[in-house]
Symmetry: C2
Subunit: 141 residues, 2 copies
DNA sequence: GTATCTGCAAAACATTTGCAATTCT
DNA sequence: AGAATTGCAAATGTTTTGCAGATAC
């Protein structure tokens, strides 16, 4: 991984702080994002969690992720057009997708000189930087 | 508009140079992208062009855009997760979407200090920068 | 007991696929 | 005629919606 993850320690408190009632399903979905930070799709989350929550429905996963993004504790990643992915790290950071192994890496934007040119009068509320290419592991094969 | 568009003058020649046989439908679809450069969805293109080409099908629009992206004369814009948009300007440039009026603006990345940090060993093949916020027109209302 | 949350089933969209008809040379 | 292109209809996949039952306070 290129950069350190923001990691939430107490999920229940964190949800409450962001006006999200910590139901069992919501806690497990947030924990999944927070612990694996693997940028999963709805289907990834559902398939993994249905093992431990057999009654789970995809509708709940959709509802929960929409709630999380609305409350600002998750962000959408649109690095590929046929799959919506999610990230519980809501800080501004970049995503690198390897075109060979499809793995998604995070990287910090803090140390980069990231100046938006000629944006006078444009108010920047969200920055999404996606880079695609070949990762070091795949390069060395 | 924040930056100047790349504008193709002779569409037929341009398609031939990129190994795309210039059928009537392909010419009209490319011209639409090139003249309006309004980052349309498949549905936008279809609804507009079906007026002048009554037999046009969405399948053809899909086929054509896939061909264009494969041949490198159009690029996909994933600034929003529920809609795939297209741009005939394949140069690396940023996109700004106004959260109020939904208009998408282009901006140049050439004058910015755009240094990807800690990307040693990562080979950058495509850069996509999306910024969302409020545009000047909407701010002044 | 009332609000909220969950999850099923159906609906709504977006995109892809198979194939037959059309067009171009 | 032969090859490529187009377009219809059906299939697939993803996300949303309506509503009824379950859960929480």
């Amino acid at each position: 991984m290129i950069t350190d993850m923001k990691h939430v320690e107490n999920t229940t408190e964190y949800l409450l702080e962001h006006e999200v009632k910590p139901s069992f399903q919501r806690l497990r979905i947030f924990d999944y994002l927070n612990e694996k930070h693997n940028h999963p799709t709805v289907d990834n989350i559902y398939k993994e969690l249905v093992n431990e929550i057999p009654t789970l429905s995809k509708t709940t996963v959709y509802n929960t992720l929409k709630l999380f993004t609305t409350k600002g504790i998750a962000q959408v990643i649109n690095i590929e057009d046929n799959e919506t992915r999610y990230d519980s790290d809501t800080s501004t950071h970049g995503h690198f997708k390897c075109l060979n192994c499809n793995k998604i890496y995070d990287f910090s934007l803090e140390n980069s000189h990231f100046n938006i040119p000629d944006l006078d009068g444009f108010e920047n509320k969200q920055t999404h930087l996606y880079i695609k290419g070949i990762c070091p592991s795949c390069k060395n094969e």
